[in-house]
């Protein structure tokens, strides 16, 4: 009788697959987790972060200040706005010069700017109040208008200016709710303190922050506007906040940014008084346009650090449960001896089981990758996708998918060998569990700054798969390294398979109790 029969091998393979598909755990970890749970988690997490960030950005902070501080602060912001590129741009838009633009679609955007916004602080105040809660219809219209225009150059030139405008006018002014010291409800008896006050409502303000009635407290000395322009004066201001409270931290950051910009503005005006240009204080400026990497490459670099890890985990989980079930599980359920009593040889049994685990591991990894690609296409918000500018070529997808084969082959051999050696399902779980931690290091190799793929690393299993996947995603397909990677992984897989087959011939392993 021959030692290997393909028919018997296929019979074992088919039966094991059928049985596995009836096992809920395997279906969950090999199919449902990679297809649904992780992409949903990723997307859900992405959206959650997006939502939280959006909430944080739109969150109104309460700032305690007296009437005089509030008026001065408003004036400082208004003056900054008037001198900012955005403010100056708006002034132009209000002028007759901009009339020609009215007929263009972009001109409609200027219609939203109220007349006098750069001249009258009251108009400015009302306008910024509308910016605080933008009308969704208006927002959508603006988005449509922007989509029609090629604004790449405008975005490049005015990106910095727009960011400053957002920081100072929107976050630092429009999204601030002022609270008067008189209306803050803090028990008078608690306010009493021996500490000297920095300003009249210092103690009251500290209590307000600690009790989270307000997020920050500011006070500006009278005549701050003039003091800022006096060349030899430095005025110190304090922002009372509590850095252990996240919203208070956010308020401090916003107010600090406003003060910084106002100070820059004042410095520029001081220089003007001395007939010096604002460039006097800025002899060196680092351009934001120095990064030569395309967005696609930046995204690839980022995804290349994460994807290999996820794919290795999918492959690991996909192979783990079938291996536990087909090895230790069979021993525990006492079905292994039934199988050994059939005419199937140990080689056929070992290979039949091995290829089932391999299929499951490979399927989980392939499903994981497919699911992630589809999730990216379908679930990822369009704005983020546009920003990432990331598309995979068919060659890249195929090359990455080919790397899954040696990975799954290695895991399958290792898991089956360990599983068949174990006395019970639980013992097998305990034996294999530490490997999960051992995997983390090689799988995370791509995020280590000094680690780059070379011929030596291409021979280290898993590290090579992680690094090569990253290179492939970046579009750097090195077939020589690919050959080394597949070769080394296949060699390890072959050793694992040989070890597995040997285990199936050892009585002390099969009947270990």
């Amino acid at each position: 009788m021959s030692s290997f029969s393909l028919t018997r091998f296929v019979t074992i393979y088919r039966k094991e697959i059928m049985e596995l598909l009836r096992d809920r755990r395997t279906v969950i970890f090999a199919v449902i987790v990679p297809i649904l749970v992780i992409p949903l988690l990723m997307m859900g997490l992405g959206r959650l972060i997006q939502t939280l960030e959006a909430q944080q950005r739109l969150q109104v902070v309460r700032v305690l200040a007296d009437e005089q501080t509030r008026t001065q602060y408003e004036q400082l912001v208004f003056e900054w706005f008037q001198n900012s590129p955005v403010g100056l741009g708006m002034a132009v838009a209000e002028s007759p010069l901009a009339a020609g633009l009215k007929n263009s679609s972009l001109g409609e955007a200027f219609d939203a700017i109220p007349q006098g916004v750069t001249q009258d602080i009251n108009v400015f105040r009302e306008w910024t109040n509308t910016l605080r809660k933008p009308d969704p219809a208006q927002k959508e219209k603006a988005r449509e208008l922007l989509a029609e225009q090629d604004l790449s150059d405008i975005q490049k030139d005015y990106r910095e200016a727009a960011l400053d405008f957002h920081d100072v006018v929107i976050k630092g002014y429009a999204l601030v709710d002022w609270v008067s010291p008189e209306t803050l409800s803090v028990p008078e008896v608690v306010i009493a303190s021996a500490e000297p006050e920095l300003f009249p409502y210092d103690h009251r303000g500290r209590l307000g922050v600690s009790q989270q009635l307000v997020e920050a407290v500011i006070h500006l000395p009278s005549g701050i506007g003039e003091k800022l322009l006096e060349p030899r004066t430095t005025t110190e201001v304090t922002i009372l906040h509590d850095s252990t409270i996240s919203l208070s931290r956010e308020a401090n950051s916003r107010l600090e940014q406003v003060y910084r910009k106002v100070a820059e503005n004042a410095a520029a005006q001081r220089l003007q008084g001395k007939d010096l240009p604002s460039a006097f204080l800025r002899p060196l400026r680092v351009s934001l346009e120095g990064n030569i990497a395309s967005r696609t490459r930046i995204t690839s670099e980022f995804l290349g650090s994460i994807l290999p890890y996820l794919v290795i985990i999918f492959s690991f989980l996909g192979g783990l449960f079938p291996a536990l079930d087909l090895g230790a599980g069979e021993k525990e359920r006492q079905t292994l001896e039934t199988l050994l009593l059939s005419t199937a040889s140990r080689l056929e049994i070992a290979l039949g089981k091995y290829f089932v685990i391999f299929s499951s591991s490979l399927l989980a990894a392939l499903l994981g990758v497919t699911s992630m690609v589809l999730s990216y296409q379908i679930l990822m918000p369009t704005e983020i996708r546009t920003l990432m500018e990331f598309e995979l070529s068919t060659t890249q997808i195929l090359a990455c998918s080919l790397l899954l084969f040696p990975t799954a082959a290695m895991f399958s051999g290792l898991f089956l060998a360990l599983s068949i050696y174990a006395r019970s399902f639980k013992e097998a779980q305990n034996t294999i569990a530490p490997f999960q931690f051992l995997l983390i290091l090689p799988a995370l190799a791509p995020i280590l700054p000094t680690v780059r793929l070379n011929a030596t690393l291409a021979l280290v299993p898993l590290v090579n798969v992680s690094l090569l996947t990253k290179e492939f995603l970046k579009g750097d397909i090195r077939w020589d390294y690919y050959g080394l990677t597949v070769g080394s992984c296949s060699l390890l897989a072959a050793i694992c398979i040989a070890y597995c087959i040997r285990q199936f011939h050892r009585e002390e392993v099969l009947f270990r109790s």
Binding site: M1, R8, M18, E337, T338, T343
Partner: protein, 250 residues
């Protein structure tokens, strides 16, 4: 025909060697039921595993239907049907799937296999639950399926290790009737048990094993003739053990 010639099986337990079978020799002839009797841990299951090729002897030879268990294990397995408590069924499969699977593994051609499955389903009256998951079957139902699985390839040699253990009266009767039927068909039946009544009722030849050694080999009538008047078979068994110098059981 099963020929066990001077077989020893030892293994290591921790650092010390354990002799599970010590120079055991016996024969099982076709057309009779040969009983292996012995207390738990005597070495009965080890002997049956050696015959079934799952284990290899440390020394000695086992010949089954003319095939050496070490040199021709697949040929040996193709002519034996083995049932024991350690040969469970796949819980997620149905009886029909189990029979189909093991029939295919034994290389039974499809048309014959279909017919054989139908015969066994009828013989063991498992039709009512043939498509139900084995996990949902009772112990008796499972044992019937287990026997059907073991004989799917119509082997000439049947090896049953404690086949009625844990079964109710009805299920036990099915097993016993099947063994008697196999004997009448001229098959070699090897039955391992620790139930004296079962031995008395079923076996033609008897071998008593204790602590890995063969204490008695002969026909059941020879064994029973050694019985003193009014002596229970259990007492005879204990006496045989005692005669070999083992007072521990008394």
């Amino acid at each position: 025909m099963i020929e066990v010639q001077n077989v020893t099986k030892s293994y290591r337990s921790g650092k010390s060697p354990v002799v599970a079978l010590d120079a055991v020799s016996l024969n099982c002839r076709p057309g009779i039921i040969t009983g292996i009797l012995g207390p738990n841990g005597a070495g009965k299951s080890t002997l049956l595993r050696l015959i079934s090729t799952v284990l290899k002897p440390t020394s000695g030879t086992l010949i089954v239907s003319g095939f050496d268990t070490v040199k021709n294990p697949s040929e040996v397995r193709s002519c034996i049907g083995f049932v024991s408590n350690s040969t469970a069924l796949y819980g997620r499969l149905t009886p029909l799937e189990v029979l189909q699977y093991f029939g295919s593994l034994h290389g039974v051609p499809q048309p014959q296999l279909k017919q054989r499955i139908a015969e066994l389903v009828e013989r063991f009256t498992i039709g009512d639950y043939a498509r139900r998951s084995i996990d949902k079957l009772s112990t008796g139902m499972r044992q019937k399926v287990s026997i059907a699985r073991a004989v799917i390839h119509n082997p000439q040699i049947l090896i049953f290790d404690e086949p009625t253990s844990g079964l109710d009266v009805l299920a036990s009767r099915t097993v016993i009737e099947f063994l008697q039927e196999a004997r009448s068909q001229g098959k070699t039946v090897l039955l391992s048990t620790h139930l004296m009544r079962e031995v008395e009722r079923l076996c033609d030849d008897l071998h008593i094993i204790h602590r890995g050694r063969l204490y008695f080999s002969g026909s059941i009538s020879e064994f029973l003739s050694a019985r003193t008047p009014d002596e229970e078979i259990e007492s005879t068994f204990l006496r045989v053990i005692q005669e070999h110098g083992d007072t521990h059981l008394l």
